[in-house]
Amino acid sequence: MKHLAVLAALLAPVPALADIDPANWEAVTAEAEGQTVFWNAWGGSTTTNDFIAWVGERVMEDYGVTLEHVKLTDTADAVTRVLSEKQAGEDDDGAVDMIWINGANFAAMKEADLLFGPYAEQLPNWAVVDVEGKTVQTDFTVPTDGFESPWAMAQVVFVHDTADMPDGLGSMQELLEWTAANPGRFSYPQPPDFLGTTFLKQVLVDILPDPSVLADPATDENYDEITAPLWSYLDELTPNLWREGKAYPPTGTAMFPLIADGELDLSISFSPGAASTAIANNELPPSVRTFVLDKGTIGNASFVAIPYNSGSKAGAMVVANFLMSPEAQVRAQNPEILGYGTVLNMDALSEEDRAAFEALDLGIATLSPAELGTVQDEPHPSWATRIADDWMTRYGVSE
């Protein structure tokens, strides 16, 4: 019998040796032990960095997986790396084992066959993910097809300091009017920062009579016409921005100190709980609150994906699965730690896990799921790319 097994192993087709079967979880965890996973994730937020460090401790404890956080300033860096490795013929043990990804970067990697999978829906914790209520199987309208697994939900919220600006605003048109009356008190991160680009998309989604045209890829024929209102909006808005639009905050978190100092009264965030977390960390004054627009705001999911040439795919899957565990999700949703929305389906959880979520105090500045209202779909990634490029030509090199 033993000989037969050896013979079978020798005769097995080569691809079987290459990649592990995600459905065979026992084999995955066995292989994962001792592996090191280089998780390439945006490193600009200290709370996120702390959370990733905690994930590292936990997967080491439970699975013997070493997690290294490669702190990116731009997720595109990791995409470049994998792409260049493919071109250089490094197909077996690339530098990147896992990427925090979504939107255009995911679309590009999936398109170029740079991802391992499908794996996401075979992971044990997929069973408790909210497939019905949350957009976890499409990413900016692109089907994920199991090539990335979700770990956090995000939605645009506006952050305002009630000490200077008591009431929220209902629409982008109101925002324009408010900035005209309060020049220099609002800004958004400089595109192509993802939050800055999201702000541009949010403007477009809110001012278009029918934003459903954005679900299909932008074409040369319709792009100019559909985005024209956006540019006239921005032409009007820019002179009334902070620093008259001659400088922009580099990222969303960089706007928190500006609010704390009273330079800004209003900014945006892609994480409904971030303001409460920042209050807990002394980064924002306790008078800060959040609001969403009457028609709702753009929302999406954050995913992790595994490059095709990772040498630690099993380890990466263990981390991806752990990120979807109730333990990690409760911690991520805790505003004192991270304040990210959960991807889990409360009804699918055990009594005990559900109680842990219900026990969370979402924080003083966090809207309840009901208050967050309608989640508007992300436009197709082609819109974001073109809009960000155009923005850079129009406003990024202005003066």
Binding site: T80, A254, A260, E399
Partner: protein
């Protein structure tokens, strides 16, 4: 016998370690700049990358920023240093500045830049201290100070760090310029202190400090970390834009980045030529001025203004460190409060562990690189002593070459080249890249004291039957303990401060205190920046303190060696 054969090749090895990566990097820039990048399936030659580069709407301003920052930072720091030295050398205030030199020099550029930003931003400490009492501001004014369109704050950030560097170089040169006697004579002839110094000493000092001035010019034109922290972004300076292109997911953008890198190299060469021509013009005018026999009427106000400027430079770095410290312990700190509501250990608890990890990586790289640089340097100098293999005056320029070629011109090329040959990015390549920048500084720091050693000591030891190696190990090195440790500390500080070399060659996998601190700039978390900035400064400063302390302890009963 083995060692005899080994020693003579050390100078060659040293030059190779310094210039090899530069040459390889330039080659790796040249090919993609002309459209040749087989790794991305692109075969050149083509002028497409340059066409794309010149199509970029931000190019004129990005180029202008590079040029204006470089020329302004260099000429203003040079003017401050020359006038302070002219007006004050040998006086008490000057000695106070001298004492501040080492600590000021070792503060990494990134930490100094953060400190400056936290001081002079509209919501910075200066504005907080004056508000609302003097300014009437109860919220920060909407003023474009940090990241200003013209890059003036970035220029200021460079000046505060270049002034101590040029002052140190000037002090070393003064000794050989016979300054004191010249000034004494000129004063006896009725010249003012500043005028007399400028007319007699300046030409001789300038001839000696010319290479470091060129280094300052090249560095200021192509700096990345200071520009990321203090520079404008609409558009950024050319070097920052090059780094952005190099990290675009679209590999084809690397071609544009490489073209930009060649343009940056061209700009630096152009600026150096311009500066050289300026020297001729200046020399003509200066000769005319000297010949005019004017004794100098404005000496006193000029000297006072220069001293004030020098003091402002020193104080902005020092107060920058103070404000970093305050932020690192700050609870909530609203505007315009002069101090936070409360002090807390929370920030250090949160970021401390992360900084320790980065400190380990930083120390491992810095210690290895500085030691290798030290060994190569001592080897070169000893070879020079034993076999008379001296560097000619021309060859001294080779030492400055890696510092004169803009980092953004060859590091991206080196990265692309490593990618093309499938070499792994990581710690060892990073160390090799650091060595390029560390070696010249270690060599320049140690060369003079090593050569100044009294060779009669060696003769005596040899007469007592000591071998050449015995002389080196048992006489020369112990006697030169202080300069050797200082050179080591210089090497450590240079390595600790490296940003671009670590970022690009490490492929993001090598996280040092500097890369982590600069990465935090985009997040804007001032408490985290405070913690990382202080740790980074500490990593550079502690070796200098040890370099002072160890010889004092080791030679506590050898009075003659204590100042050696």
């Amino acid at each position: 016998m083995n060692r005899r054969r080994f020693l003579p090749i050390l100078p060659i090895l040293t030059l190779l370690a310094m210039l090899g990566p530069v040459a390889a990097g330039l080659w790796g820039t040249l090919l993609p700049a002309f459209g040749h990048l087989p790794a991305a399936g692109l075969i050149g030659p083509s002028l497409e990358p340059f066409r794309d580069l010149f199509d970029w709407a931000g190019l004129p301003r990005a180029m202008l920023l590079s040029i204006s920052t470089g020329l302004l930072a260099t000429s203003i720091s040079l003017a401050i240093v020359m006038l302070v030295t002219a007006g004050w050398s040998g006086t008490k205030p000057f000695r106070a500045l001298e004492r501040l030199l080492s600590p000021l020099l070792s503060v990494p550029h990134a930490a100094a830049a953060f400190g400056l930003a936290f001081l002079i931003a509209p919501s910075g400490w200066a504005s907080r201290l004056l508000s609302p009492g003097l300014t009437g501001w109860d919220r920060p004014p909407d003023l474009l100070i940090v990241q200003d369109t013209w890059g003036l704050t970035m220029t200021a950030g460079l000046i505060v760090k270049e002034v101590p560097f040029l002052l140190l170089i000037t002090l070393a040169a003064l000794g050989q310029a016979d300054a004191q006697r010249s000034v004494a004579i000129s004063q006896a002839l009725g010249y003012g202190r500043v005028t007399g110094w400028l007319k007699t000493v300046f030409p001789r000092v300038y001839a000696q400090i010319r290479p470091p001035i060129y280094v300052v010019l090249a560095y200021s034109m192509s700096v990345v970390d200071v520009a990321v922290i203090l520079g404008p972004n609409t558009p950024p300076s050319l070097s920052v834009q090059i780094v952005k292109w190099m990290s675009d997911p679209d590999l084809a953008m690397r071609l544009e980045g490489a073209a930009g890198a060649l343009l940056q190299l061209g700009l630096v060469i152009g600026a150096l030529v311009f500066w050289r021509l300026g020297e001729f013009v200046f020399a003509r005018l200066g000769a005319h001025w000297v010949g005019s026999g004017m004794r100098g009427k404005l000496d006193r106000p000029v000297a006072l203004a220069a001293l004030a400027a020098g003091a402002i430079c020193a104080l902005s770095v020092l107060f920058g460190l103070v404000v970093l410290t305050i932020w690192s312990f700050a609870g909530f700190w609203g505007f315009p409060d002069a101090l936070p509501d409360g002090f807390t250990m929370r920030n250090w608890m949160r970021f401390g562990p992360g900084t320790l990890e980065a400190l380990g990586e930083t120390a491992l790289i810095a210690i290895t690189v500085a030691l290798v640089a030290l060994i190569l340097t001592i080897g070169c100098l000893e070879a020079e002593y034993r076999y008379g293999l001296t560097f000619s005056q021309r060859a001294v320029w080779l030492l400055y070459l890696p510092l004169l070629i803009p980092q953004t011109a060859f590091l991206p090329g080196l990265q692309t080249l490593m990618l093309s040959i499938g070499a792994d990015e990581g710690r060892i390549p990073v160390m090799l890249a650091h060595l390029v920048f560390v070696l010249p500084y270690v060599f320049l720091s140690l060369a003079d004291p090593f050569r100044a050693w009294d060779t009669r000591m060696g003769t005596i030891a040899a007469a007592l039957r000591s071998s050449p190696n015995g002389v080196l190990w048992r006489v020369r090195m112990p006697m030169l303990l202080r300069p050797i440790l200082t050179a080591l500390a210089v090497g450590l500080a240079v390595s600790v401060g490296q940003y671009l070399a670590t970022l690009l060659i490490g492929g993001g996998r090598v996280a040092t205190l500097t890369t982590e601190a600069v990465a935090l700039a985009s997040g804007g978390d001032r408490r985290a920046i405070g913690v990382y900035g202080l740790m980074q400064t500490g990593a550079a400063l502690v070796p200098f303190a040890l370099a002072l302390l160890i010889p004092t302890i080791a030679w506590r009963n050898r009075r003659g060696l204590r100042h050696g």
